[in-house]
Amino acid sequence: MASDSVIEISGLSKTYGSGDKGTLALNRLDLRVNRGEIFGYLGPNGAGKTTTIRLLLDLIRPSAGSARIFGLDIRNDSVEIHRRIGFLPGELTLWEGRTGRQIIDYVGSVRGDAKGIAKHADELAERLNLDTSKRVRDLSSGNKRKLGLVIAMMHSPELLILDEPTGGLDPLVQQTFHEMMDEYRDKGKTVFLSSHVLSEVQAICDRVGILRDGELKAVESVEKITNVEFHWVDVTFRDAIPAGLPQQLEALPSITDVSTNGARIRMRMLGDFDPLLRAISSGYVETLHVEEPSLEEIFLAFYSGDKES
């Protein structure tokens, strides 16, 4: 991977409103995204992910700080930057009365190479199994998302900026999307994507930046972040929780946050399942449910320190 930066953000801040009613959405963000990497931009709702993306696209103007994409200023050189990037908004809205084909032609004509772009758009649509002859208003949310991906990628941009790209896509299409991202990386192109889906981030991202309350808390490799992966485990017994089991589980080094509700016991588990399975074998287990933690929980575990970490 080359080390030169595609995105360079320096002290970028954004406040909505002014005076006492102003809301600080992004606070002095410093960030670099390298050429040829897939960078995951993570954080809970309202953390400032979309604000960052809209600033980079020059849709909104910074209250302070600056940013450069391909070494070009996001404000003064926005047209040149936009020529070289593809964008998929988180809440995608397209022209409802137009068909996918008409929108592809429109976007292609604004980009200035309608014919060449349309050919690649057809390939992408076929790969994503998208029917471009339907009007947008007749498309499901997943198919609208596919159309958004086609529009973002059809001119083979050097940088893709994707806001929650796989929301609403079925698992098969998500898999295709992951493959497409891998191909992008192999071609030396860069992807900046926001997501809150752990499996997606694990599958495709090289590095992640974690944003919270408008502040960048960390930038780490995906391996490092997901090393602290834990699970929420729910066990439901047929009769009742065996006597002393909660205390027994609490004593295990890999288990925390044990709570009970009737015949159900819930806990946070880090590492191997074996100690847990041995402990609960004293009762008749009716169901066992394992839940993936949210990225924010992983992040908190990573930075607050965990029993085993």
Binding site: L59, E80, W95
Partner: protein, 268 residues
């Protein structure tokens, strides 16, 4: 590519243009075929019996002679009475330039493409301006159809000036709507302000016409509708200073919109 937004806007607007044009044209046809039902001398006597405020409300000034003709009847019955209706189409189009797309979110997609904000506004403004011309042409066609099928003696060429005078008026209303939408940001807010602006202008025009010779007369001067008076146009033809005023103000409103839109956040 230059012109791509212009062409797309026309593609997505032509149907509405035809619907509005046909609707207004049907109104024009109706008024034209009603002409033989009226005796114009009786019409003049009737108008003379009206108090100034009522005449003002139907767009009639002091030039009653003009209205005692077939052309004058159409001028009152269609162009004078319908001033507010003519304002609706350019308001709808003016809202589409920025407000509708910002509210729906499609402006984010459009402005993420390699295109300047100014180009988006100018190309859309021109396309909607062309659609206003289309609506006016359909209205003029309606006058001809009315004459053809109603067997009415009507000098449609005399009404051409009254008809085509609508173009600068509609473009001005569209430009004003666009600036209000650019300033107000939200579609609902902008629509409220524009509606108030148009109704206030109508009221001021009415007061100005009704209160001639009084201290309230100057109020009419500040209404943009005052400069579209079907009777005056019928009597004098194109009133170039008024047309220049509409065009000049439209250009100023466009420039103000470009200036403000270039500097503000989108969709916030």
């Amino acid at each position: 590519m230059i012109g791509s937004v212009f062409i797309e806007t026309l593609k997505t607007t032509w149907k509405q243009m035809v619907y509005w044009g046909v609707g207004l044209s049907a109104m024009a046809i109706l008024v034209v075929i009603m002409v033989p039902l009226f005796n114009m001398q009786d019409m003049r006597n009737l108008l003379e019996s009206f108090p100034p405020v009522i005449l003002a409300m139907i767009g009639v000034g002091q030039e009653l002679e003009i209205f005692a003709t077939n052309e004058g009847f159409v001028a009152i019955g269609f162009f004078g009475k319908s001033a507010l209706i003519f304002a609706v189409y350019p308001v709808v189009m003016g809202m589409r330039i920025t407000a509708n797309e910002e509210d729906s979110g499609t402006m984010d997609v459009l402005l993420s493409l390699p295109i300047e904000r100014a180009r988006v506004i100018v190309e859309k403004f021109l396309a909607y301006g062309v659609s206003c011309v289309g609506v006016v042409l359909l209205i003029y066609l309606g006058l001809h159809i009315g004459v053809l099928f109603g067997g009415v003696e009507l000098d449609v060429l005399r009404l051409a000036e009254v008809t085509f005078y609508l173009i600068p008026l509609m473009v001005f209303i569209m430009a004003a709507t666009m600036l209000i939408a650019v300033l107000a940001r939200r579609r609902v807010v902008a629509l409220g302000i524009v509606t108030a602006f148009v109704i206030a202008s109508y009221m001021l025009q009415t007061i100005g016409l009704a209160a001639e010779g009084t201290v309230a007369e100057p109020l009419g001067v500040i209404s943009f509708l005052t400069y579209y008076n079907a009777g005056d146009i019928l009597a004098q033809g194109f009133i170039w200073p008024h047309i220049a005023g509409y065009v000049g103000l439209s250009v100023l409103l466009l420039l103000a919109s470009l200036y403000r839109y270039e500097r503000r956040d989108i969709g916030v």
